[in-house]
């Protein structure tokens, strides 16, 4: 019976979307939590990931592109960090504005290189087409996306929980003193985190491209939900980001069924509701970013 099938499809879509958001949001939050920089270029880097894979995949194959594109994006991230570096310890607004400028510039670069028009990206051949599960059929590719996203989240979790860097990032690496006390090169760590965070945006961009198609502004579709996910989940909380991502994904997925046009707005309503109930987000501890 179609209604049920539709509901299931929307649930699955929401789930996939949510995992994707979680990946973007985590990359974003790593940078936010460590450098106190709102990385505005996160979205355009996400887009770049997609565009790189668009150009690479035909030559090196999809899997290779999945690895190479994020590396390229991460590299760009490292370059950006050289500039962002100069804003540390100053008004946090400067970091935000710097990456904002970078976002505008990079978006224009996309226009110059790939043109202003949109591209649709077809899924890799081995996952083309749908699964047929009796009453419903579901895109194989989306399943792959979910799997990849989960794997990536696992990787980040391992990084945060099982490596000294993770310990510091969680401890709130904004306190340079403490990091140095632990005998870790702050500068190195910061660029590492920035590279990592942006690379994650790149990966997300690659795997999102076949679902969302590519246009120079596609980044905004990814980064704004990420912002919301972070606000909902609470800054500095891994599970907060995952939880927030899933919530936002599912809510917008399901609202697609009820109020298609409102689906984007719904996530903002969700955010407002959460803020009313828990000003610091679901799992956010009292953060140094507030009074």
């Amino acid at each position: 019976m179609p209604e049920a099938a539709e509901l299931v499809t929307h649930l699955l879509n929401g789930l996939v979307l949510g995992l994707l958001y979680a990946v973007v949001a985590l990359g974003f939050m790593l940078i936010l939590g460590t450098m106190e920089v709102i990385n505005f270029s996160h979205g355009v880097l996400f887009a770049l990931g997609g565009y790189f894979s668009l150009s690479l995949a035909p030559h090196v194959g999809w899997w290779a592109a999945l690895v190479l594109a994020p590396l390229l994006v991460g590299a760009i991230g490292l370059v950006l960090e050289l500039g962002v570096r100069r804003t540390y310890g100053r008004d946090p607004l400067f970091g935000l504005l710097f990456t904002f400028g970078a976002a505008l510039a990079l978006e224009e670069v996309i226009r110059i290189v790939w043109g202003a028009r949109g591209y649709t990206v077809s899924a890799p051949a081995f996952v083309a087409g749908p699964f047929h599960l009796g009453f419903l059929f579901y895109s194989k590719y989306r399943v792959l996306v979910a799997v990849l996203a989960v794997a990536l989240l696992g990787l980040v979790w391992w990084f945060l929980e099982r490596t000294p860097y993770g310990a510091i990032i969680k401890a709130g690496a904004h306190d340079g003193e403490m990091v140095r006390a632990l005998g870790i090169d702050l500068t190195r760590m910061r660029s590492l985190v920035f590279g990592l965070g942006t690379a994650m945006a790149g990966v997300a961009g690659v795997i999102a491209a076949p679902m969302w198609s590519l246009k120079p502004t596609v980044g905004a579709d990814a980064v704004m939900p990420a912002f919301i996910v972070v606000v909902i989940g609470g800054i500095g909380s891994f599970w907060g980001a995952v939880l927030g991502g899933l919530m936002v994904g599912l809510v917008s997925g399901l609202s697609n069924l009820v109020v298609p046009r409102g689906s984007i707005l719904v996530m903002y309503l969700l955010m407002t509701a959460v803020l009313l109930w828990r000003p610091r987000g679901l799992l956010g501890q009292k953060s140094i970013l507030e009074l």
């Binding site: 920089v37 709102i38 504005l97 970078a102 505008l104 510039a105 224009e108 903002y268």
Partner: protein, 346 residues
């Protein structure tokens, strides 16, 4: 300090008054009008950014929404000019006040993050409510009706030069009012909050209430500017509400030196708009130049033009400032914005 109009401001007013007669060829009157409109917006916004140290990043939303309040009132409620204009200001302040309730307890980038989110929320709202806003078509057909000014009689605002002076009047009034505000006790408090919110609290100031008030206030000026902008273009559109426009007003305050001087934003607006005008005719890809410019300013000109001039005027003191800040960043909560609040005295 003259309590009403200090000298530099008087100069500013005179220059602005003279412009149309020098720029008698049409094209620039419109640019001049836009400059004054954005100046009102930027000056009001700087109350938040430069004086209270609250990096709001969704303010374009308020600038833009005013147009819809104005348009809706003129088309479907009262018609006329003054009531719609007032509706623009009040409606915007109302929305600002509501958002303020959420953000007033925040600061630093967490404050930015929330303001971004709410800004984008309003942006999407425009497209969802396209029955009222006209969606991406914009709310067009808004009229610049003639106004009867006691003494001057009826003024036909359709004429660009007349409209220029109509905006000019608001520009002068807003500037004076803002000048009073930043030098008032309230102004003292918000500048104190920027320097150390904890201390201000310890002195018995209910800082969230003050932050809420500044936020709402600056939204009021955004509303006024937005209303005039709508009249200038005979229509309200979503584009001014986009994140990029929100970024633009921040940049305007920064280029000019909003952190350093009361007049920073005005200078910033002039530089920005003229630059945009030139860049966008220079190349199809002006956004690239524009983005790079943005980055460059952050890296090399963080205190803006006037800030640079002040630095040049008293290098030694600036040196101390640096030292003091370096010392401070160690022990202050990082949410706080180093960098001096602009002096009332400009």
């Amino acid at each position: 300090m003259n309590r009403w109009v200090p000298l530099p401001m008087l100069g500013l007013f005179l220059l602005a008054a003279a412009l149309p007669s020098v720029l008698w060829m049409g094209g620039y009157t419109y640019l001049g009008t836009e400059v004054m409109i954005w100046a009102i917006f930027a000056l009001g916004y700087n109350l938040l950014l430069g004086y209270t140290g609250l990096p709001a990043f969704g303010h374009g939303a308020f600038f833009g929404m005013a147009g819809y309040f104005l348009g809706a009132t003129q088309k479907w409620l009262t018609g006329g000019l003054w009531l719609p204009l007032a509706a623009g200001v009040l409606g915007t302040m109302l929305c600002g006040g509501l958002v303020g309730l959420f953000v007033a307890r925040r600061r630093g980038i967490y404050f930015s993050l929330l303001t971004i989110a709410f800004g984008v929320m309003f942006w999407f709202l425009v497209f969802v409510l396209d029955a009222w806003t006209g969606g991406e078509d914009g709310l067009t057909g808004i009229q610049r009706l003639s106004v009867t000014v006691p003494g001057a009689g009826g003024l036909a605002l359709r004429d660009n030069v007349t409209f220029y002076y109509f905006v000019y009047a608001f520009f002068v009034a807003s500037t004076i009012v803002l000048w009073r505000i930043v030098n008032s006790p309230f102004g003292q408090v918000i500048r104190a909050i920027k320097q150390s919110e904890t201390r201000a609290r310890a002195l018995g100031y209910d800082t969230p209430r003050y932050k809420w008030a500044v936020f709402t206030l600056s939204c009021g000026f955004a509303g006024l500017a937005g209303g005039l902008y709508t009249l200038a273009r005979y229509g309200a559109f979503a584009e001014p509400m986009s994140l990029q426009q929100s970024g633009n007003v921040v940049l305007m305050c920064l280029i000019g030196g909003g952190f350093a001087s009361f007049y920073g934003p005005v200078l910033g607006v002039v530089v920005f708009l003229v630059l945009r005008d030139v860049l966008s005719t220079l190349t199809d890809h002006w956004m690239l130049l524009y983005g790079l410019l943005f980055m460059g300013i952050i890296l090399f000109l963080p205190e803006g033009i006037l800030g640079l001039i002040q630095r040049a005027r008293r290098p030694t003191r600036f040196h101390d400032t640096q030292a003091a800040e370096a010392a401070r960043t160690g022990d202050t909560p990082s949410g706080e914005a180093p960098g001096p609040a602009p002096r009332g005295g400009g």
